[in-house]
Symmetry: C2
Amino acid sequence: MLAGTITIVGVGLIGGSIGLAAKQRRIAQHVIGVDTNQARLEKARQLGAIDPAGYETSTATSLDDVVIVCTPVDQIAGQVLVMAKAAAKGTLITDSGSTKAIIVHEVENQLLEGVAFVGSHPLAGSERQGPDCAVPNLLDGKVVVVTPTKKSTPIALTRTVALWESLGANVRLMSPEDHDRAIAFTSHVPHLLASALAGSLDDSLRDLTASGFRDMTRIASGDPSLWTAIFTQNRQAVLSGLDKLDDRLKEIAESVRNADWPKLTSLLAQAKKVRDALGS
Amino acid sequence: MLAGTITIVGVGLIGGSIGLAAKQRRIAQHVIGVDTNQARLEKARQLGAIDPAGYETSTATSLDDVVIVCTPVDQIAGQVLVMAKAAAKGTLITDSGSTKAIIVHEVENQLLEGVAFVGSHPLAGSERQGPDCAVPNLLDGKVVVVTPTKKSTPIALTRTVALWESLGANVRLMSPEDHDRAIAFTSHVPHLLASALAGSLDDSLRDLTASGFRDMTRIASGDPSLWTAIFTQNRQAVLSGLDKLDDRLKEIAESVRNADWPKLTSLLAQAKKVRDALGS
């Protein structure tokens, strides 16, 4: 048992999956859901991702509580601060946002009395949304980046790491800034690329797309507002990542334009090596 | 029964899958494999994708034969012409190449006596290779583009369409040139994009790639030589496709650079609409 109560704010794909895993692995005495969308909250209850309504208030616990804020990135800092005010002393708060620097610093610039906050980002997102898509093994073997700062206490950091590990994930520690730069290239830029590809497909060509095109554009089905919020919070790193990608794309295009086939083969071979190393 | 003998030249993923489907659906009396790689040929035999060695020569048939050339695109035209010389009168030859104009015109510029050729392209490729990856349902419900020209006889075209339909595919007719322009955007440009993304990933970021990055770069694991051959045969259309994509990517990058978030959301929303329409 890791926590008295785990409160999940935002019971969508990630929040719902955390709830299912927490219940299945019995890492808390109670799993409470909070969501502005009552239908989603009810759905999460039906699926067993959170405790039945009313149940959560019935028992005092001796273990410290945990709050995980799994809402769109532009709402996370505000919700962390609201939860901090309502939380019992000793509560650990973390989140699941795809950006970290702005969220972490906004939270740390406000005084949290008696509670601790450490930022987190489980690399387990999807173009799908909502508790219906939640699965208890979403985090199994996945990487969760935890982003401590100078202000993080060792105890809070240890608890944050233990939380994600108890949910089945592998934790990697990075500063919020390093996280944002890295994820800009591994997630945010790919999203823009997928969107550019899907968005420039002529209607007449839809029937001529096969698994390659579908795989490459799948994430373009993600929610535009959620993603725009991410880009507002990671603008510079995304622009740098786009530049980097553009350099490589230009090099490839030049080799095709110049019919420099040995050069093209070598660029393709280098990329294949990188991709093969990632596994399926 | 559609053919006396189906001869598959090149028993890799596509050729092997065609063999398995042809046997399972009993569309020919014999399925013969031809491959310069003896180990691959033996593997295809073991998997039941082609008939046992020696078996193929034992029976004369009353049905006309079919030859399907499933080799790298730069070898197809030459192999079609070789097979044409050896083929019985009335044989239909087709192929599975990812480019069509160069192959079709190279073949049609040579006189094929007593045999017919119509180009085909099953949209069922993969980054995987070899008969080990072959499956009998690879073509089920997939699109096969068949590319007749003025020189194609109605009978040859009808037989080509019937062949792919009997293997479970849906046929779409296009000119070789229209095919190449379309596939440049739905397959060849995405390949370069996947390759650019994988190729510009820093080693230190490998652990931070999740399913989105993996989906987007999967096809970058394709064989560099096979793909270079494709690009040599579809250079202009690929360059046009890259330009088109680049325009869209620039528009997206500009909206991020200018922090024009409503514009970015609208670009993402338009792309999501296209992608959602493609299905999973």
